[in-house]
């Protein structure tokens, strides 16, 4: 006798977040990307609706990535020294459907780009590539509070995802997202309690919970991956049980963590494997956007997603 599947019926649902706006919606993107909307735990297609696949966002910077691993620089060639050519290669050669731009050049230690130049960079990039855009700051809170409002305004109406808001610094970014029609990344330090608190703080400013994407902060394989995995799983279980304050999709910055691991520097193949395995593990704990660096790793993860979703 066949054992019947034990299927759970969840009262909650993960928010659907749209990134990108086409011309008719007031933007200039050639397509849009929807994430979230799950009615069940990851990949349990028989249990509930999973309308959107996890998406890979190629990570690019607004300056040449001088501290990138040689293998990464080699993968893109000399073009990576020019941010616009780097973006072109991601879109044209590697068929990226989503770009995640880090405004590293605004960091005081990486060129200290001012708000005007940062905004100009965004405008030029939006003219050059037509895929939806994620824009993150340099990681320096004080500087990001100066440049991110300008970047946000330069991308007004393009329905970007902008980040990263943190518990001690979320007001400026939230105000920008509200003013310019973007969604926001809420970052917490592998801490579900802070993730929930930050979502409440942001929504109290008037930005709907449905416009928040959680960056749970992840560790690469061997560097706390399982800790991030369990936090994401717990948040998802709570969300599906009806906790709307945790019902946000996840964005995971896989590339930056995987290529920081010393194991990824041992050989080119191992670095690619490290990034791939970190990403595929996180897909199983509910990752919706994987921000990745190496095109070969992105390709492998893309194949993995396609294979998994064939059975949908």
């Amino acid at each position: 006798m066949e054992t019947p599947l034990a299927l759970e019926k969840w009262p909650g649902i993960i928010s659907t977040v749209t990134i990108g706006a086409k011309k008719e919606e007031g933007g200039s993107r050639s397509g849009i990307v929807n994430i979230g909307g799950q009615h069940t735990m990851p990949l349990l297609f028989k249990e509930g609706d999973i309308p959107n696949q996890p998406r890979i966002a190629f990570e690019i910077w607004d300056i040449a990535p001088l501290d990138f691993d040689e293998e990464l620089i080699g993968a893109y060639g000399k073009a990576i020294m020019d941010p616009f050519s780097w973006a072109d290669i991601c879109v044209n050669e590697y068929k990226a459907q989503l770009l995640c731009l880090k405004m590293q050049g605004a960091h005081p230690d990486f060129g200290d780009k001012n708000a005007k130049d940062a905004a100009k960079f965004i405008s030029t990039l939006l003219g050059r590539v037509k895929v939806p855009l994620i824009i993150t700051g340099s990681g320096d809170d004080a500087k990001d509070n100066l440049i991110m409002p300008a970047c946000s305004e330069a991308a007004k109406g393009e329905r970007c995802l902008i980040g990263c808001a943190v518990q001690d610094n979320y007001k400026t970014l939230t105000a920008s997202a509200l003013a310019d029609g973007h969604s926001i990344i809420a970052e917490s330090p592998i801490d579900i309690n802070i993730a929930k608190q930050l979502n409440i703080l942001i929504s109290d400013m008037g930005l709907n919970l449905e416009r928040i994407v959680i960056n749970p902060t992840i560790g690469a394989l061997g560097y706390g991956l399982e800790y991030a995995y369990s936090i994401m799983e717990r948040a998802r279980l709570a969300a599906l049980s009806g906790d709307k304050t945790l019902a946000s999709p996840f964005i995971c910055f896989v590339g930056q963590e995987a290529w920081r691991a010393k194991e990824s520097k041992i050989s080119p193949e191992q670095g690619i494997i490290w990034e791939t395995l970190t990403a595929t593990s996180l897909i199983q704990s509910g990752a919706d956007i994987l921000v990745m660096r190496h095109p070969k790793a992105a390709q492998k993860v893309n194949n993995y997603i396609e294979t998994l979703f064939k059975s949908r």
């Binding site: 703080l201 717990r234 906790d243």
Partner: protein, 263 residues
């Protein structure tokens, strides 16, 4: 916790006045206030003020469901009054309540089935109020057995151990808490449990404090639902905190706000 607001009851002067004047605004304000405070359902009881509950019960239901689609808990000891209410109810309903007496069960179980209503079974019988846990469990078993025999699923049933005032039956309260836990073991799936909370403090001075202290203990014993005053903010905050401590919700600094956002 499934919260049933208790304030639409003819024993309160505002509802008594509403019944007398047929002033629906008073009832509707009372309904909306309870929903805003976190009620998942609303108890509807004509109380002693009603000259004719067969008319007043349907009226209270009609005016309440004009402003909310929350579940209505039809509260009367007279099956005919319950039926008069069920006939006009469009919202989901709970019958409040049947005793463990066969003749009562024979009327109310079929009514629950006919109107797709849930049913509260209170562990009391014509012999009187039980004096200990075993008597309560025996009456609960009788209710479950008859519901099962007549095809009402356990999922549609709430068991109420009947809470006694602390100043009347102080020696019984611990047993009532134990009864709540043991109700859950009477059937698989477990029957849901409910209490009329305010009974615990009937006639006492520190009513709100006694209510919320007992509710915390009952929640820790596995209580699923309570009929209470949701506009008592200290009570609601205590309930939210008790559920947090029992790991029913994920902690954050604004957990009280988070709970209310999720309502």
């Amino acid at each position: 916790m499934f919260i049933v607001g208790e304030l639409i009851n003819g024993m309160y002067s505002n509802i008594a006045l509403a019944l007398k004047k047929h002033d629906k605004k008073i009832v509707q304000e009372c309904a909306l206030e309870q929903v805003a405070a976190g009620a998942d359902a609303l108890d509807i009881c004509c109380g002693p003020a009603s000259a004719d509950p067969l008319v007043d019960m349907p009226w209270l239901i009609e005016v309440t469901q004009e402003v909310t689609d929350k579940t209505l808990c039809l509260d009367s000891s007279r099956p005919k009054v319950i039926e008069a209410g069920l006939k006009v109810a469009k919202n989901k309903t709970i019958i409040n309540s049947t005793t463990a007496d066969t003749e009562k069960l024979e009327i109310l179980i079929p009514l629950a089935k006919q109107y797709k209503s849930k049913l509260i079974g209170i562990t009391i019988s014509s012999k009187g109020i039980p004096q200990n846990k075993d008597q309560r469990l025996e009456l609960a078993a009788a209710i479950l057995t008859q519901a099962n025999a007549e095809g009402l699923p356990v999922s549609e049933l709430y068991l109420d151990p009947i809470v006694m005032p602390v100043n009347v039956a102080q020696n019984q309260i611990r047993e009532i808490l134990e009864t709540i836990a043991e109700f859950k073991m009477l059937a698989q799936p477990s029957p849901k449990t409910i209490i009329g909370l305010s009974n615990i403090s009937q006639g006492a001075k520190e009513r709100s404090l006694i209510n919320r202290t007992f509710l915390t203990m009952a929640v820790a014993s596995g209580l699923d639902s309570a009929i209470l005053d949701p506009t008592d903010k200290a009570l609601m905050d205590t309930l939210i905190t008790a559920e947090l401590i029992l790991n029913k919700n994920i902690y954050c600094d604004s957990y009280l706000e988070a709970y209310r956002k999720n309502k």
